[in-house]
């Protein structure tokens, strides 16, 4: 049995599809809709596998007391706040992330598997819009200090002053965001004062519908993962990210700005590059073999 633990509904769907297509019994546990008690009562066997779609979630500590192996998907190659050796294996998407995590936690270097996260764009196609809202820039990264949220608000202010609409989309209630602090609340107030919109979407459909209205998605985080780029691409939204960290492994150079040059971001936003053609290697049919091989690599 493979248990796929999703932090938010939808994230990690590609993994589920791969496991199901390979004929593995798969159970999806949506962490936002499951109580800790329910997770604690899962009775796993020695051959079972847990795949935690956000490896930084401390719930792995609960899983570690169960039988079976645990794999995590690294969404951002930052330091773990707990012992990452709780994992039998960690999936990272880029060589950069592999190197960064090996430096941060040398003890897990041999457990890192570099593989694209499987992504199936078909579910997003109905949200694609031909009539975009003009000059609408969207931010979908987690609104955290690590992702330079203050820089994002400052950039949004500059964009608004030059005639753009700037929106930060949340897939959950803002107040339920992980790591929401007084600073974060202060920044949201500051952003709103400057005309930035912070929208908590009640459903995934609403989220992708609003996401698809944008012309450009901007990333200000120093590192990240492919999911938001792949979602943006599926929705016909072009993306801008710093030429830094792991982003050059995801995006063509036309979509990369000089890190973290505000003027260059504004310049690229004013004449955005085409929606990047990055989907191919992330399609489940193109990455399933590497993922299953990693799971079977005891």
């Amino acid at each position: 049995m493979i248990y796929v633990l999703q932090p938010v509904p939808g994230l990690g769907e590609g993994y589920t599809k791969i496991f199901e297509a390979a004929g593995r019994d798969t159970v999806v546990i949506s962490l936002s809709q499951t109580t800790m008690n329910e997770i604690e009562t899962v009775e796993s066997g020695r051959d079972d596998i847990f795949v935690l779609v956000d490896a930084h979630l401390p719930i792995v500590k609960t899983l570690s007391s169960k039988q079976g192996r645990i794999y995590g998907v690294v969404q951002q190659a930052t330091r773990f706040s707990f012992d990452p050796c709780l994992y039998d294996g960690l999936f990272v998407e880029t060589l950069w992330a592999q190197k960064r995590l090996s430096q941060l936690h040398p003890e897990i270097a041999s457990r890192l598997y570099v593989t694209p996260s499987p992504f199936d764009p078909s579910g997003l196609l109905p949200f694609c819009k031909n009539n975009k809202t003009e000059n609408r820039v969207v931010f979908t990264q987690a609104f955290t200090q690590e992702n330079l949220h203050i820089f994002e608000v400052y950039l949004a202010d500059l964009l608004i002053q030059t005639g753009y609409k700037a929106v930060h989309l949340f897939l959950t209630e803002i107040k339920n965001q992980p790591g929401i602090t007084a600073d974060t609340r202060g920044l949201i107030r500051e952003g709103e004062k400057r005309g930035m919109e912070f929208i908590s979407c009640e459903t995934r459909d609403e989220y992708f519908c609003r996401f698809a209205e944008a012309t450009v998605m901007i990333m200000t985080a120093p590192s990240g993962n492919a999911v938001s780029f792949l979602q943006a691409t599926s929705l016909g939204v072009t993306t801008l990210a710093p030429c830094f960290g792991d982003f050059p492994e995801f995006l063509p150079k036309e979509n990369l700005y000089r890190p973290f040059n505000l003027n260059h971001i504004l310049l690229l936003a004013s004449s955005p590059p085409a929606v990047p053609d990055i989907m191919e290697r992330f399609l489940p049919e193109n990455c399933w073999q590497r993922i299953l091989a990693a799971l079977d690599d005891e």
Partner: protein, 327 residues
């Protein structure tokens, strides 16, 4: 009579010896004044009676070193003209007050409107005040913030360490600590030693700002050395060794930390924005927040003249006095 309300002076206060320096200048010019206790906005010990007992006259002056102080509301009815020094504006650019005060209204607009004249620490600060409160147009004057450069003299002889690059800004949100770490990582890779000088012990910083814990751990991991300076003397000694000082502030009205570093002979690297072009030479400014330009400047080390003498206590207090009609 000039009633002067200064700052509380302490080791970790960014205002340095402001109160003492202004007093010295007033004495040197034989200007009669009475020093009142600073309004302590950190604690409950506000000496209300002492303020309220004063019977001022129409031709007296009141100088509030922190224009945002609630004290102005308490003393607005007193006779005499009121002057306040603005060091930050909450309506603009991530002033730390917006995070400290939370949703509480600090009544900035009302408080500033009670002054006869408002002094600003930089031209940038003046622009921010006027953009937020255009109705204050006739009241706002740029004065600068007085620095007592004499106190740095003993440290100017300390030898520079050529490979030492220092951050001495606050390790706080509006200083972009995430970028500071990335820059440190790149500089260390280029062979530099990088330090962050702080007046607060790292463990206390972690307790005060839980959101900084992971960044402080990261700093340790990459070799960015946090140096805790328990005294100003220790801080100045360490700062004097730095060859280059970098700031990544995304909000600053006038950074005392950079001005003192420049006076001690460090090469400044600052964003081409906010107040920085007012005193840092163009060649030492980077396009905000271009990491490659910052690294290139740290390697090139342009030695230029920076116009920090405009912030000497003599020059700034001259302006205060002139604007208060005491000169």
């Amino acid at each position: 009579m000039l009633y002067f309300i200064g700052y509380e002076e302490s080791q970790d206060n960014w205002t340095g010896n402001f109160t003492e320096a202004v007093q010295e200048e007033l004495v040197r010019r034989s200007i009669p004044f009475r020093l009142l206790p600073p309004y302590n906005w950190r604690g409950p010990s506000m000496p209300l009676r002492e303020y309220l007992r004063i019977e001022s006259r129409d031709d007296d002056q009141w100088f509030f070193s922190w224009a945002h102080s609630p004290l102005i509301e308490l003393l607005a009815h007193k006779k005499g003209r009121k002057y306040g020094l603005v060091v930050g504006v909450t309506t603009f650019h991530f002033d730390p007050l917006i995070f400290v005060q939370g949703e509480n209204d600090i009544r900035e607009s009302h408080r500033l409107s009670l002054y006869d004249k408002i002094f600003t620490v930089s031209h940038w600060c003046k622009r921010c005040v006027l953009r937020a409160y255009p109705f204050l147009k006739k009241k706002v004057v740029h004065t600068g913030f007085p620095h007592d450069f004499d106190i740095y003299e003993p440290y100017k002889q300390i030898a520079k360490e050529p490979d030492l690059i220092v951050f001495n800004q606050r390790f706080a949100l509006e200083r972009l600590p995430v970028l500071e770490l990335e820059i440190a990582r790149m500089l260390i890779k280029c062979g530099f030693r990088v330090q962050h000088l702080t007046g607060t012990d790292c463990e206390i910083m972690k307790q005060q700002s839980p959101s900084m814990v992971s960044l402080l751990c990261e700093a340790e991991q990459i070799g960015l050395n946090f140096i805790h300076n328990a005294t100003k003397d220790q801080y100045h000694r360490n700062l004097a060794k730095a060859s280059v000082v970098i700031t990544t502030a995304i909000a600053d009205m006038l950074p005392a930390s950079l001005i003192e570093a420049i006076y001690l002979g460090a090469i400044p690297i600052a964003p081409r924005a906010f107040c920085f072009p007012e005193f840092v030479h163009y060649d030492n400014l980077y396009a905000p927040y271009d990491l490659r330009e910052i690294i290139a400047l740290a390697e090139m080390r342009p030695k230029r003249h920076h116009t920090i003498k405009q912030f000497s206590k003599e020059t700034v207090v001259d302006t205060f006095i002139r604007e208060m009609g005491l000169g």
